[in-house]
Symmetry: C2
Subunit: 551 residues, 2 copies
């Protein structure tokens, strides 16, 4: 019987898609569930990855009892190497496939030997981490081996669903365990942290098996090569494509580093079955006629350096698209990637390929449950309180509405933000504070050294370019040389450049006449004078950088 | 009986969405159909508008007999002021509403008095422009008063559909005139230029009336204010929202300059009916209770300065969202605008509004026909040859497939590109050449002066920022002063800055020791030395601009 409190601190994943991470804290101990990253948006110019802010966990590093991972997607495990390097953790807990993927990631970061990895068996005994007793429930999603986490805490029983859908016919037969959910619901759930991604969408998401049915209809009818692009971690999607290839006698070639890596991990751990004589290497593609080939590849999001993008731009060393080939893009563009995916489709169509994608063929289903599936989980668990997680605000709001509809009182629905401190006790649930939270940018080799001001400058530079005014200031009061101008990202016609140089000289002369010689002031005058002229003539505002040198 | 030739030169709209413009040329005369613009993509950093390249028309300006506009959307008329200023035209032909919208646009550009505007009556007599005889057919679309153009040319009969859908129940009762299409088909069509936008999508697009039905279900049930955001030119969408408002006794307030302007034009020309006492000004909003207000506003694409975006960011002077308000986003994000629209939805939801949009309510239909509608037009016209227009390559390819399915021989389907010269004669249709074509960027007040190299520089600047190295070179062989560094969009830690300065000094000294004094060479050495150091330390490649001054 809970008679203490537990604090739940979401450090990512609220009001956004990606970088899911939540800290649970009771009696001085902390358990972290997931450590995900987000991919940068276009306005994050030049940023490679976006991580949660680890400040809070850094301060409390001695209290961390473990990190638990619900599944192997980047938005749930991608920040783990950075978390381990900056904060550390006594152990990482995950299911077999998730561990397999994480091991390979930690190995690349040189962190494998220093990390303590422990396997979760969803059907095994509960684990104890400090005051927390954890159980796990199998959930279906777009990667195998996902779990929900049930935490018995001093503040009450909490269920974190992780990402899920209710797939009654998953490819591996491992359904979302509705029986266990009902059993936990009967024990009594004090707080549900539920995946909100598709809360706005009515009805149910189709079963993963539907994509297999589409493959079985589409692939045998094709007479050229067939390419299937999907997420590199979508093991069941790959399995279903491989199954059809085996059935119709096509060899399978896997193109794209991450997909080859994941396929090897999944095969070696028993999550995928691919007959040895089915796989061929890219170099062997020319040994087989087109109608005997199926290519699995990365690039379903139109990522610039991915296999499908290079193939679409006729820049891939091993795969050239020819008339009669078919490309199945078995994924949905993540918001922000639409144009890149459209570009790839256009390029492929221009090369003579038939392109099948979600708009014209049933070749994709979501990995997240729609509203009716969320309602079912609410009905099975009957939580006393609900905290929608994993999603933009509109998705959280839609999930909150589903919770209200299911009978959860409005004052027991917590709309938290990243950094909110949510307290669960026998008296209920409430937000009691806020800790530092936010984002850390990874840019090149630097973690956390790119700040908003740099992004603001990059934005400004990207809009109108930069104009550098170089002026020399003679130390006597002799005449000044004509200033030099350097423009980048700003295509000035010759006469305007000359006019700007004249204006800079005029400003300089005026400064000298007025005995304004302080470099900062001269720079300011140059900035304002030249900037105004450029704006008057062109309507643009390039960044003006005056460089004044005393000689 | 055609016994000559006609050349069709698409100057925009092929392999892209937007800036539709096609020149028809016979016996030394040219007729231009449409003069549209495109909106810049994110990679067009800082560009405001994208226009077709007018080079070809400029060279042939004396031969232009007229510009014909199919409808009033920006992607069909937006480039007109620029075309008139750069090339000119003896007359512009369009239907009444299109002319009304164009007049206002030309007035803003100071071009109204110098332009000859002629009204098209779709039911009237044909018009003769040089060797071309033109007839028009009413087509339904997401703006009233659209027409297809039938051109009798020396090379044969050509039909340009313009944008269309087959709406059997349009709001104004003016359906796509399938009877006229059949009649023209019976006369014999030598070449069809058909809208390809939705060629990939199966089935039919819903009637515009379906949105009205959704409004009639959704709006009366709401108890707070209702906002409806749509394209400012979607007159029927606005009419349907106004009709429901009148029915349930809500006052209507129109927010957003372009929507107010279009509503006024549409009302004054008889295309919209709004009782005078229904309309209120933004300043009067507070005089009425929330349940008595309906706001029509711009911003359905999340455009940065639009009404809805300002409302969402709580930055609008007249409209503040409160809990209980409902926002209907009655549009689909144009590819590339998804994130902006999602951001607006999240902000509105955070302010307590219920947001209805195409993903969770039937509040939008497309203005373009899907595959079955394109098939119907192919069946009615039975063209001897088909040239898919208006769309990205994949859409053109899908349209070509529909034409093949309908019995058009593969060698009579023309996959042209912008600038292709397509020749139609009694012997058939073929591509015979290529003229200069491409894009012209409008950036601030400048038209056409931003070139690809500037965009490439802006892209580079936006990724990693800029680093300026300022060095002075003493004219004797005395020691040099320490170089100065200026960084923007590149957040360097202090020690690295110091290290870079050291490196610059080392490079300079080395140059002097080797008697390398030519400024270009010294700059090159500085660029390479500092650039390599930055890359080694940070993995980034800011633009390095060395400035070397001889003193």
């Amino acid at each position: 019987m809970a008679d203490g409190t537990c604090r739940i601190i979401p450090l990512g994943g609220l009001g956004e898609v990606g970088k899911n991470m939540t800290a649970f804290e009771a009696e001085g101990s902390i358990v972290v569930v997931d450590a995900g990253l987000a991919f940068p948006r276009d306005e994050h110019l030049g940023v490679d990855l976006v991580l949660p802010d680890f400040s809070y966990l850094s301060e409390r590093r001695a209290d961390i009892r473990g990190v638990v991972l619900t599944h192997g997607h980047e938005d749930h495990v991608g920040a783990l190497p950075y978390l381990l390097r900056e904060v550390g953790a006594p152990a990482i807990w995950a299911t077999k496939l998730t561990l397999g993927l994480v091991k390979s990631k930690l190995d690349e970061h040189g962190l494998l030997r220093s990390s303590e990895l422990r396997e979760i068996d969803p059907d095994g005994a509960p684990i104890q981490l400090g005051p927390f007793r954890l159980e796990f429930i199998r959930m279906a999603h777009s990667i195998p081996d996902c779990v929900a986490v049930v935490l018995e805490t001093p503040g009450g029983r909490i269920v974190c669903t992780g990402d899920y859908k209710i797939d009654h016919t998953p490819v591996d037969g491992l359904k979302t365990d509705v029986g266990r959910l009902a059993e936990i619901g009967n024990r009594g759930v004090d707080l549900l942290l539920g995946d909100s991604t598709n809360a706005e969408l009515p009805g149910v998401t189709g079963s993963e098996r539907l994509v297999g049915e589409a493959f079985r209809q589409l692939i045998p009818a094709r007479t050229g090569r067939v390419l299937v692009a999907s997420f590199a971690s979508n093991v069941h999607r790959m399995q279903q494509a491989v199954d059809v290839a085996v059935q119709v006698g096509r060899k399978v070639c896997v193109v794209g580093r991450s997909m080859r890596k994941n396929l090897n991990i999944a095969r070696s751990l028993g999550y995928m079955e691919v007959p040895d004589d089915t796989l061929i290497r890219p170099a062997e593609l020319d040994d087989h006629p087109p109608e005997r080939i199926l290519i699995l590849c990365t690039g379903s999001q139109g990522e610039p350096l991915s296999a499908l993008t290079r193939i679409a731009y006729r820049d891939h060393p091993a795969v050239k698209i020819e008339r009669g080939d078919s490309v199945i893009i078995s994924a949905k563009p993540i918001p922000g990637n639409e144009l890149r995916v459209h570009d790839a489709i256009n390029r492929l169509a221009r090369s003579g390929a038939e392109v099948l994608h979600q708009a014209n063929a049933p070749v994709h289903v979501s990995g997240h449950g729609n509203a009716e599936e969320l309602r079912l989980v609410l009905a099975l668990l009957r939580p006393r309180a609900v905290m929608p997680v994993h999603g933009e605000f509109r998705m959280l709001a839609a999930h909150a509405q589903l919770a209200r509809d299911s009978g959860v009182p409005a004052n027991s629905i917590v709309m938290a933000e990243n950094g909110s401190v949510v307290e669960l006790s026998p008296r209920g649930v409430q937000i009691v504070g806020q800790v530092e939270s936010g984002v850390t940018f990874v840019d090149g080799l630097g973690v956390g050294d790119v700040r908003d001001v740099a992004l603001r400058d990059r934005r400004r530079l990207s809009e109108d370019g930069v104009l550098i005014v170089v002026a020399t200031l003679a130390s006597g009061d002799g005449a000044t040389a004509a200033p030099e101008l350097i423009a980048r990202g700003f295509s000035e016609p010759g006469p305007l450049l000359e006019e700007m140089r004249e204006e800079a000289r005029r400003v300089l002369d005026e400064c000298l006449r007025g005995d304004v010689r302080e470099i900062k002031l001269v720079q300011e005058h140059l900035h304002d004078g030249v900037g105004q002229l450029v704006y008057d003539r062109t309507g643009r505002r390039p960044m003006i950088l005056p460089v004044v040198i005393e000689v």
